[in-house]
């Protein structure tokens, strides 16, 4: 599940051409005014300027080689950020194309749908009504207040199949820039000019509205503190070096050390190698790439803070329908009352469901065909049939055909109907109904005028693989709570089958909100999905609220993420991306600090072995000369940034498991690896560098 799904934007891999394309951006970012937001790299740039001046005053091949690689270090860091941003820019271009200048037919009053004037779309104000017909582009975000239409939303979702948008209910929201394919709708505009969903999307993917997240700020503080420590350590070394040179008057000056102490070029090299440049260079790229990975999965996070919070989530609220179970219940058995044959019941059940377009109704027809061989009849075949549609009042549907009346529906409603028509349902019916309910199923009673035939057993079908996923969640320390409108008995049965930790039955929006508050009281972070207007308060209250794109504007406004695919299961992936983002930061920080050990072993003997030959014992890499040692360390330090750009963009591999296991694995890989890698890398570079001039 953590492997990149096929999105519209290519996977996480880095295309070398991207590096080249981002180079101009990387060079613009050398401007100190831009760079000051990144104190670590700013220090490197100041060091690069300083050594450039030194190299000009006292030119040598060694000095210029260091100068070049110091500048490359800064450029590589900028490149990482530019590449991460570049991917967003490509996406923004696609979105801009959708934001063509359109005109709108604005209704002058609510009363008449024919009285309108044409205005440019950007002039629309919230609350105004527009009329949109087939073939026209919806001029702005809003809610459908009248009509139903199929809409092509591929401009924002990338999904080519049209979706239905209708007034009332939870599928009323439309997005500006999408296209109506059929019918006619009246839309009430909800956006302010220039703040449309597409505008926000563009800003988000371009990183224009990117703000540092709390954890990023905290990490920056730590990196700044480490930078200061190393700055102090290198600067205060100078009087000690001067003293050491002074008391060993016989030792000749070297490119690393003379009577004025360690030379400026070497001192800057040491500083740059010690300060956490690796993570400093990649930190913002990691953040941008995290958002980008969400975008690739068609999820828009309104803030980086929300992505970070996703990693911390400890309670997931999942709607039963569509997330845990397939969208609808399916007929799984016909249970006749004594005296009625199964075939008779199946036939009546099929008959009553022929005109029932709900998924449940369809499943009854399908089940009758598969289990009892009953040919599916088209509603039109039965000319004299009079279909009785389902209403909220009657809570049943059915058909009147040649004087025969067949009904199916909720047990209480159908039983009442039977009694009203002189029937006397036996206790047996009640037993069957209770039996099905307690097993988690939904009973639908089928009856003819005056007599009950039997009960249809509708069953929720838990999606494949859900139990394993919830087991994984548990190992990650995340509690899953199923939210359902079902009664507690049914809910319990499905909860058991799916393997969730808890459930909230007969849930009202208020219950949901109360549950979230209760979890948050205990210090937990809660994530949920929602689409309806009545979900809005809960979405706003939750720490990670993912609104479905099909949902209402209110829901999308209240959540801090929008799933363009409207797939509630994605919440699990969002949590994983959040975790991956944090792990990547931690792993590269650890790697960066662990790297310093080897650099000391390269540079300290290079600086001081001339005055204290014993210190050459620290040159355990047996680097060929002081100059090549310093240069190799600086080159390694720069190259490692480029080498890790793909990892920063892709994120470290993440497999759901307990914190302790994850930590062990990452500690070995990035802690131990971070200690060992530079020893090998610097040695290899030294093997090449020693052939350059002045390296003897």
């Amino acid at each position: 599940m953590s492997s990149p799904t096929t999105g519209r934007v290519g996977g996480g891999l880095l295309d070398p051409r991207q590096l080249v394309r981002s180079l101009p951006d990387a060079l613009t970012k050398l401007n100190p005014a831009t760079l000051w937001r990144n104190p670590v790299m700013l220090i490197v740039e100041v060091g690069a300027v300083f050594t450039t001046v030194l190299a000009i005053i006292e030119p040598s091949f060694f000095a210029w080689a260091i100068v070049v690689w110091l500048w490359l270090t800064v450029i590589f860091a900028n490149l990482a950020e530019a590449v991460a941003e570049g991917r967003g820019k490509a996406q923004a271009a696609t979105l801009r194309a959708a934001k063509r200048d359109t005109t709108a037919r604005r209704l002058k009053s609510r009363a008449s749908t024919s009285d309108w004037d044409v205005v440019p779309a950007p002039e629309l104000r919230p609350g105004e009504l527009v009329i949109v017909e087939a073939g026209e582009v919806i001029p702005g975000d809003g809610d459908v207040i009248d009509g139903i239409a199929s809409v092509d939303e591929s401009a924002i979702t990338g999904e080519s199949a049209p979706v239905i948008r209708e007034s009332g209910g939870d599928r009323s929201a439309v997005t500006g820039g999408t296209k109506v394919l059929s019918d006619r709708i009246i839309v009430q505009i909800t956006q302010k000019p220039g703040e449309s969903f597409i505008d926000r999307m563009i800003a988000l993917v371009e990183g224009a509205s990117r703000q540092k997240t709390p954890n990023e700020i905290a990490l920056n503080i730590l990196l700044a503190a480490l930078t200061i420590i190393f700055l102090v350590a290198t600067v205060t070394m100078q009087p000690l070096a001067i003293y050491s040179k002074l008391i060993n008057p016989g030792v000749p000056d070297s490119p690393a050390l003379n009577a004025d102490g360690v030379t400026g070029v070497v001192l800057v090299s040491l500083l740059v190698c010690l300060i956490p440049t690796t993570i400093g260079a990649l930190l913002s790229a990691i953040g941008i790439a995290g958002m980008d990975r969400l975008v690739q999965r068609n999820v828009l996070a309104m803030s980086g803070r929300a992505v970070e919070a996703a990693g911390d989530v400890s309670t997931l609220l999942l709607d039963k329908t569509g997330t845990i179970t397939l969208g609808n219940r399916q007929a799984s058995a016909f249970v006749p009352v004594p005296g009625v044959s199964e075939g008779e019941l199946a036939e009546a059940a099929q008959l009553s469901s022929l005109a029932d377009a709900t998924p449940e109704g369809r499943s009854i027809v399908v089940f009758a065909k598969e289990a009892y061989g009953l040919r599916e009849r088209q509603a039109g075949e039965l000319a004299r049939a009079e279909w009785v549609p389902f209403t909220a009042q009657t809570r049943m549907s059915g058909v009147d055909l040649d004087g025969r009346e067949v009904r199916k529906g909720a047990a209480t409603a159908v039983m009442k109907w039977v009694r009203d028509h002189g029937g006397h349902p036996t206790d047996e019916v009640g037993h069957i109904v209770d039996g099905i309910s307690s097993s988690g199923g939904t009973p639908l009673v089928v009856a003819e005028r005056g007599r009950v035939l039997g009960v249809i057993h509708l069953k929720d079908v838990v999606k494949a693989g859900m139990r394993e996923r919830f087991d994984e969640m548990r190992r990650m320390g995340i509690r899953t709570v199923m939210i359902t409108g079902d009664n507690p008995l049914t809910a319990q049965a499905i909860a058991n089958e799916a393997g969730v930790d808890d459930f909230l039955a007969e849930a009202t929006p208020e219950d949901k909100l109360a549950l979230i508050r209760k979890e948050q009281e205990g210090g937990r972070l809660v994530a949920m999905t929602g689409d309806g207007t009545n979900d809005a308060p809960a979405l706003a209250q939750s720490d990670v609220g993912v609104a479905m794109n099909t949902g209402t504007s209110a829901a999308k406004e209240a959540g801090n993420m929008v799933d363009l695919d409207s797939n509630p299961t994605k919440l699990i992936e969002i949590v994983e991306i959040g975790k991956q983002l944090l792990i990547t930061r931690g792993a590269l920080t650890t790697f960066s600090i662990a790297n310093d050990i080897a650099k000391y072993f390269a540079i300290i003997p290079a600086m001081f072995a001339a005055v204290y030959p014993g210190l050459d014992a620290l040159n355990i890499m047996r680097l060929s000369s002081p100059q090549s040692a310093v240069l190799s360390a600086v080159i390694f330090n720069a190259i490692v940034i480029v080498a890790l750009i793909p990892l920063a963009l892709r994120g470290v591999r993440y497999r759901p498991s307990s914190a302790a296991k994850l930590l062990s694995r990452n500690l070995y890989l990035y802690g131990l690896g971070g200690i060992v890698a530079p020893f090998i890398g610097i040695k290899l570079i030294d093997l090449l560098v020693q052939f350059l001039p002045e390296m003897g």
């Binding site: 709390p214 954890n215 905290a218 990490l219 503080i221 730590l222 700044a224 503190a225 200061i228 420590i229 190393f230 102090v232 350590a233 290198t234 205060t236 070394m237 100078q238 009087p239 000690l240 001067i242 003293y243 050491s244 008391i247 010690l274 970070e308 911390d312 400890s314 190992r475 990650m476 320390g477 995340i478 509690r479 210090g523 937990r524 959040g578 975790k579 991956q580 944090l582 792990i583 931690g586 792993a587 920080t589 650890t590 600090i593 310093d596 000391y600 300290i604 005055v611 204290y612 014993g614 210190l615 620290l618 993440y654 307990s658 914190a659 302790a660 994850l662 930590l663 990452n666 500690l667």
Partner: protein, 553 residues
Amino acid sequence: MSATAAGMLFIASLVLAMVLVHRPLGDYMYRVYTSARHTVVERVVYRLLGVRPDAEQSWGVYARGLLAFSVVSILVVYGIQRLQDKLPLSLGRPPVTDHIAWNTAISFVTNTNWQAYSGESTMGHLTQMMALAVQNFVSAAVGMAVAIALVRGFARRKSGTLGNFWVDLVRGSVRILLPIAFVGALVLVAGGVIQNLSGVHEVATLTGGTQSITGGPVASQEAIKELGTNGGGFYNANSAHPFENATSWTNWFEIFLILMIPFALPRTFGRMVGQVRQGYAIVAVMGILALASVLLTNAFELGGDATVSQAAGAAMEGKEVRFGLSNSATFAAVTTLTSTGAVNSAHDSYTPFGGMMTMFNMMLGEVAPGGVGAGLYGILILAVITVFVAGLMVGRTPEYLGKKIGPREIKLASLYFLVTPALVLTGTAFAMGSPEQRASMLNGGPHGLSEVLYAFTSASNNNGSAFAGLTVNTPWYDVALGLCMVFGRFLPIILVLALAGSLAAQSPVPEGAGTLPTHRPQFVGMVVGVTIILVSLTFLPALALGPIAEGLS
């Protein structure tokens, strides 16, 4: 029994003693700091001080009380030294000169006990008892109070307060330090340490000369000197003097006194946060670092690979024959690991790497197990930094004991970690950069550099021991080291209290399978690793030009 075996037995018996004593003492301290009752004596003290013992304080009020108390303490200690000739029991000593009095006042109030003077020939008995010994108690109690306040920060939920400084100060002194020090003094007297109010005795020596030997209330001062990890000796020779540390047994007992509170406090911490195992993890970090350091120091000294020691057969220069190599090395490691600074041998004469160990112990930030209180809050800061770096690798924003480590918390923890290295390195750089100050070094070469580095490391980390070989009673060193002591003590304390305040205000995140477990060997190893790596990276250049250069030559 070989010398090595005896040394190992000495160390093993100390470890065993810690195992036995940490639990009852830790539990006792837990009760002291959480009890709601005030004793009669304490209530009298509160009335005299004019404080309401049941009033809870925010971190700011707590810190202000602490600072005010410390400023007054400095003035009192300074005043007594300057006026000692007009006070009783002065033994006819003149007032202490201004820069030494200032340095000493700061030194004892900051629990450093750096001594720029020679005790028996400078201070009268009243100065020793009223100024220095009193500070030995209260400066230790201040350190413990800060540690307890930080622990309360972790333990409390959505609270604006950290307890009451005056109550913590008084209870720490009256209920913990006084009774143990009293018993400790009796044991030391029994072991041969002197306790009287007699003056100077002129004694004819075997060689025909005369020697002035000062008597005094030594045992009472010695007990709290070790128990409160103070380290300021009655005599200039400190614990090498037979009147302070008579035999191998008193030597053992003094180390035991040094270690008992620092190693018991993690137990108190575990009890207060309601998870004893968290305390065990912390004590394990301290124990691993301490044991490794003690064993390495022993190994370097017993190995004795310096030229002189090889010629003499053992690195006995600067060590007391009655203690021997190993027990001196163990004492040296313990005293530098705990910010005590008492010495029973001259660290200056150690082998280069043995001497480096004593420095490295202090550079760790005095956390293994560190000074009373200061060790606990120091290691908790390191745990916070470790949680932050490595904790991210479990895919959650970092938290320790259910408290989130956000921008404010990491800012305070980072600043804490910055203070002492900055003081040590800047001080050393200034001293080494000036030919005038370099003149204070008695040795040239890298060893001279080590002497200066040691002095600033000791002062900034509030250890107080001296490498010796550096003439420090000059105005420049008195002022510079005094500043290091003040900033090295109070800046971290303010930062710790601020951190405690921000932690206490949080509501804790419940622990789950996704939480970084902070009680397992894995975490213990991580804190050990982060501590060693961060400290090594900070100090390696300086160490390379001092002890490492000397040792590898």
